[in-house]
């Protein structure tokens, strides 16, 4: 089956780790992930700026490794990311900010990408809250 996975919670919420372990199990089970979509506070999972204490799980790093290893389509909602200060090079330049937190393979894009993924997948699974 084809899964679209959406994440709405920040890295320190347990649902971020749950979404990642679920996504891993989807691929391990022989299924496909057509897109990851990070919305609301979930956009922080794509941030390269987060510094996790050494003895704790580094979710943004684990997400990045997962996306790179499996060459996944990984989209961060651009409107949600701007409001939360999670910018890529292009948006930082556009708005005159210096801090670049999002780099490829993450891509900033619009909510149309969430709908497209949901339409094309067999299942949409959203993670959020705690």
């Amino acid at each position: 089956m084809k899964f679209a996975i959406a994440l709405f919670a920040p890295p320190h919420a347990p649902s971020s780790r749950r979404a990642l372990r679920f996504a891993e199990a989807v691929l391990a089970g022989g299924h496909e992930i057509n897109r990851l979509f990070f919305y609301q506070d979930g956009v922080h999972n794509a941030s390269g700026s987060i510094v996790t204490p050494q003895d704790e799980l580094d979710l943004p790093a684990q997400w990045r490794a997962f996306v790179e290893r499996h060459k996944l389509d990984a989209v961060v909602c651009i409107a949600a990311a701007l409001r939360r200060g999670v910018l890529d090079a292009q948006e930082a330049q556009r708005y005159g900010r210096t801090a670049i937190a999002v780099t490829p393979p993450w891509e900033l894009s619009g909510l149309g990408q969430l709908h497209e993924a949901a339409q094309q997948a067999d299942r949409l699974v959203c993670f959020g809250g705690v």
Binding site: F3, F22, A25
Partner: protein, 98 residues
């Protein structure tokens, strides 16, 4: 179109009733995170769960039970992540209650 409902909030801070209201008789429930505390013996949330129609399958994520030192009552099926994925394929859609 059946729905698998994911619950992760504590039933004591985010009351269960409004999340159980739209539950159809062929729907399923998966408790994860603090929602697993609904299985605490002697609590009101457990009583609510036990009053669900028998046709509603109730599941709980194994790691969250372990972390909290909780046991699953008889009607609750314990699943790991592969089981979680399999559940998603078994229902027509998945609704995550944030």
């Amino acid at each position: 179109m059946t729905t698998l409902h994911l619950l992760s909030q504590s039933p004591f801070t985010s009351p269960l009733d409004s999340t159980l209201r739209p539950l159809g008789v062929r729907d399923g429930l998966l408790l994860c995170g603090d929602a697993c505390h609904a299985l605490q013996p002697g609590s009101a949330p457990l009583e609510m769960l036990e009053h669900l129609p028998a046709s509603v399958a109730v599941h709980a994520l194994e790691e969250d039970l372990q972390a909290r030192n909780l046991a699953a009552p008889e009607r609750v099926q314990v699943v790991d992540y592969p089981g979680f994925v399999e559940l998603c394929t078994r229902y027509d859609k998945v609704n995550g209650w944030l």
